[in-house]
């Protein structure tokens, strides 16, 4: 006999609970700000203003969010298959090689709108390749994917420094970066889109890859909830024994899921490399692979949740940078603390307030419907 639990309506599950988590995270962050002798309200004001207060800030926020959507989707897809892909950082980094191969090689030959689909394919392929070995080791040898993907982040970092230093950098310079791509290797900024609303994007690097991110969201939604492969991935994620019973190959599914996950992480390279800096440079993912974990958790693995979660973290990045600039007592590290608190409450402690909220909801429901409605509901 199972214990019946009150089921919560989606609005509470996906709306109220994340919101409360977020509010608590910011309250605690406010205490931190208070502790260094600054006004939390002023800090919040600066942060929000920096992120959303003017067009350029919005452009930056959405630029960061674009990266986080890619890595968030990557973590989410793996998560549906019961796999914890911590290697988004490394996969994105290696994906940069795919982008660079197209942008550097064909940038002077083909226009950007022909190079973009090629770069999408190749960056995804490189990211997927970087996820393949951990996937294979997990599926075949049982090496835990959390450990192997973390290790592959370090391998990726070392490999990329080697490639940049010994092969890819401009000869005779010290900077770990490739030459700047020709025009066909540069994705246009969304200046025109902003002008439609009478806004000026300014120096913000928001670019066409934001649309690739939206397409990726649609693709992931279709994959997970509308295709047979997605069905099999979810079956494996919920119950490996059921997958075995249903005749699904765990080896195949683990490898395919991780290839897709790695591919999505690899796409993230489009945004900074082809969309902003127009060259491959040292450590360009800048933690986006790890932020993707928080984004996926907060977004409940669903694209409709991942997009707002990515924008939230984009806001923390952009608003945080402005805050550190305007409030000298708050250093860059304190911004990381605030981001950490959001991850803590939204991700790790996600279910902390759930029982209390569930109880409050049940009480509210009862008062609304009365005992007679409850009786007919009791089967």
């Amino acid at each position: 006999m199972s214990r019946p639990y009150a089921k919560l309506p989606p609005i509470i599950d996906y709306g109220v609970i994340p919101l409360i988590n977020l509010v608590v995270a910011f309250l605690v962050a406010g205490l931190v700000v208070l502790a260094v002798g600054e006004s939390p309200i002023r800090a919040a004001e600066l942060m929000l203003n920096g992120a959303f207060g003017y067009a350029e800030g919005v452009g930056f926020t959405l630029y960061y969010a674009t990266s986080f959507v890619f890595t968030g989707l990557a973590v989410a897809v793996a998560f549906h298959g019961g796999l914890f892909n911590i290697g988004g950082e490394g996969q994105a980094y290696v994906g940069g090689l795919g982008v660079t191969a197209i942008a550097l090689g064909l940038g002077g030959i083909l226009p950007w709108w022909l190079n973009l689909p090629l770069a999408v394919c190749l960056s995804a392929a490189f990211g997927a390749l970087w996820a393949l070995i951990p996937a294979y080791l997990q599926a075949k040898r049982g090496s835990h994917i959390v450990i192997t993907t973390i290790m592959f982040n370090f391998i990726a970092a070392a490999l990329m420094v080697y490639l940049l230093n010994d092969w890819l950098k401009v000869p005779g310079t010290n900077a770990l970066e490739t030459p700047t791509f020709a025009e066909g290797g540069q994705l246009p900024k969304l200046r025109g889109l902003f002008e439609l609303f009478g806004a000026n994007l300014g120096g913000a690097p928001l670019n066409v890859s934001a649309f690739v991110a939206l397409l990726a969201c649609l693709g992931v939604w279709l994959l997970i909830w509308r295709t047979r492969l997605g069905y099999e991935i979810r079956t494996l994620g919920h119950s490996p024994r059921a997958a075995r019973y249903a005749g699904m190959s765990e080896l195949r599914l683990v490898v395919v899921t991780m290839l897709i996950s790695g591919g999505l992480a690899g796409l993230m390279a489009l945004n900074p490399v082809m969309g902003d800096q127009y060259r491959l440079f040292n450590d360009f993912p800048q933690g986006a692979g790890f932020v993707g974990i928080a984004v996926a958790l907060m977004g409940r693995g669903h694209p409709a949740g991942i997009i707002p979660a990515a924008i939230l973290f984009g806001m923390l990045y952009q608003g945080g940078a402005e805050l550190a600039f305007d409030m000298p007592a708050i250093s860059r590290d304190m911004i990381v603390i605030i981001q950490g608190l959001v991850i803590l409450f939204a991700g790790a402690l996600e279910n902390m307030f759930r029982p209390a909220i569930g109880m409050a909801w049940a009480r509210f429901r009862l008062r609304e419907t009365g005992p007679s409605a409850a009786r007919t509901g009791g089967v």
């Binding site: 006999m1 019946p4 919920h238 024994r241 049940a362 009791g378």
Partner: protein
């Protein structure tokens, strides 16, 4: 007994979970020094009621009196303090601890364990003396048979000073002999003045051991009877509110051609222990072959090897005339394509994906079927239409194909699996534990379906730990013990004879 002193009284207990009223105005008096049975279908509210008595839940209204005094049972510690002990259906023991350590767990008394251990040892000795509850105090739990593990649970409760002992489905995991022994222990505890509440769905046990029996239905306590003044038929009727078939009505089997042959199959588990040892069997169209046996004697591994889920060490399987090599990595999909359907023993982890919607589970294993594909995508409309058809045909409730499978009751979950596998019109149907955790009404329905499949010429293999079920359904009975088929009997074999075989004793051989 008349005006015997009450050990525990429940007055007007009410409990809701959201819109579901799991317990409605329940009043119950259990007399001191008696064994009181509580029966009811799954979802009748028995476990909720016991959880309220043991402090896992709080009642929304009503009161509990122990020994005539009102008590507030806010958590299990309060229940223990009030002298209430509970033996759970799934044991709450630490497998790699010894008996002493488990009994002491949660009652260590001090940071250093030596005084606690000494106390537990002397108490265990006393309990052993007074109740014939002997068990080696230094044995590891994982080395003990299930019957003894249960005894440790009882000792745990007694060590904490329980005067009222609640046992939740205690015989589900026991052999008939172990169950008999448990009943002796319970009778003896009653002699010593302990009060015992026995939750079960096995009417035979209620008749055999209880003094009083209360029947729950849909959250209400519908009747309390003196056991000596009632009958199995009356209790069954009270439970479901109508008469049920306690035996399966079926005609003579007309076995035809052989559909499935298993030759010398040997299977090892992941630790390398031989679980199925040189098993051979034949399954013919139009017959039901039942495999009886105490859980854990290799039935699960046998089923998994036959259905391609688990790789065998040696042997041969012939399905519909085609020889297959079970020592190669199996493919359950291939077996399905060849006309085999499988209702697995473990529907929670194997037969169903509980977080899925019902219609998603209705295609599990058949997800490749073209009927559910629309180009590269799944055809959700087709899936839901198909699911709705099955819901209607199998009377699955609630009739909502978008509902999460976890929110169906056990019986309805099993119907979801059965509908999926039976409606595929397989030649060979392999069913593990057809009615485990399923209420009486659904049992009748499921048994009728299985017999109908047989009469339609299907070859059916049923594995069940419920001897009654095997005897009611099977045209031939195979008994499995320690990985071997130790005997074959007809459907008329007596329970005693089968029981002995299940314990590894062959009466006929012994007589020779």
């Amino acid at each position: 007994m008349g005006m015997a002193e009450p050990a525990i009284e429940l007055i007007g207990i009410d409990k809701r979970f959201g819109a579901v009223r799991a317990n409605r105005d329940i009043s119950l008096t259990v007399e001191k020094g008696t064994i009181h049975g509580i029966i009811g279908e799954n979802g009748a509210g028995k476990s909720t009621l016991m959880s309220i008595i043991y402090g896992f839940y709080q009642a929304d209204s009503g009161e509990i009196r122990v020994g005539g005094n009102r008590v507030e049972i806010t958590d299990p510690n309060a229940a223990i303090a009030a002298g209430i002990g509970m033996v759970h259906q799934h044991f709450m023991l630490v497998d790699n601890f010894t008996v002493v350590e488990n009994v002491m767990l949660g009652a260590e008394q001090s940071g250093l364990l030596n005084s606690g251990i000494a106390r537990v040892r002397s108490e265990l000795k006393r309990l052993e003396r007074e109740h014939a509850l002997d068990v080696d105090p230094d044995a590891l739990i994982e080395d003990l048979p299930v019957g003894l593990q249960q005894r440790v649970e009882i000792l745990k409760a007694l060590y904490r000073g329980a005067d009222i002992l609640i046992l939740d489905e205690p015989t589900g995991v026991l052999t008939p002999a172990e169950a008999d022994h448990l009943f002796n222990v319970l009778r003896q505890l009653r002699e010593e003045g302990k009060t015992i509440i026995l939750i079960t769905h096995k009417l035979r046990e209620v008749m055999a051991i209880t003094d009083h029996v209360s029947v729950m239905r849909q959250g209400e306590m519908v009747a309390t009877r003196k056991t000596s003044e009632t009958s199995v038929a009356e209790l069954a009727e009270l439970m479901v509110g109508r008469r049920v078939l306690l035996t399966v009505e079926k005609g003579e089997a007309k076995p035809a051609e052989t559909r499935l042959t298993v030759d010398n199959l040997t299977v090892k588990d992941s630790r390398g222990v031989t679980m199925v040892n040189d098993v051979s069997l034949q399954l013919r169209a139009g017959e039901i072959v039942g495999i009886a046996g105490v859980a854990g004697n290799g039935q699960s591994q046998l089923l998994e090897a036959i259905t391609g889920i688990r790789r065998a060490v040696s042997g041969r399987i012939t399905l519909n005339g085609e020889a297959l090599d079970p020592t190669k990595p199996g493919d359950p999909r291939e077996m399905r394509r060849r006309g085999m359907a499988h209702v697995p023993e473990d529907r929670h982890h194997m037969g169903l994906v509980l977080p899925f919607e019902q219609n998603e589970n209705a295609i599990l294993g058949y997800q490749d079927d073209k009927a559910f594909a629309k180009g590269p995508l799944l055809d959700l409309d087709a899936m839901r239409a198909d699911a709705r058809e099955k819901i209607a045909a199998y009377d699955i409730r609630p009739a909502d194909c978008r509902l999460k499978t976890a929110n169906f009751s056990g019986g309805n979950q099993q119907k979801i699996v059965l509908a999926r596998e039976m409606e595929r019109d397989p030649d060979v149907l392999i069913i593990g534990q057809p009615t485990r955790g399923v209420d009486v009404g659904a049992i009748e329905f499921i048994h009728k379906r299985i017999v109908a499949m047989r009469d339609a010429g299907k070859a059916i293999l049923v594995v069940s730990v419920e001897l009654d079920e095997i005897r009611a359904l099977s045209d031939r009975i195979l008994v499995m013990f320690a990985g071997r088929i130790v005997g074959e009997r007809g459907p008329d074999a007596s329970e005693g004879e089968l029981g002995l075989l299940m314990a590894g004793i062959d009466e006929r051989e012994a007589a020779e």
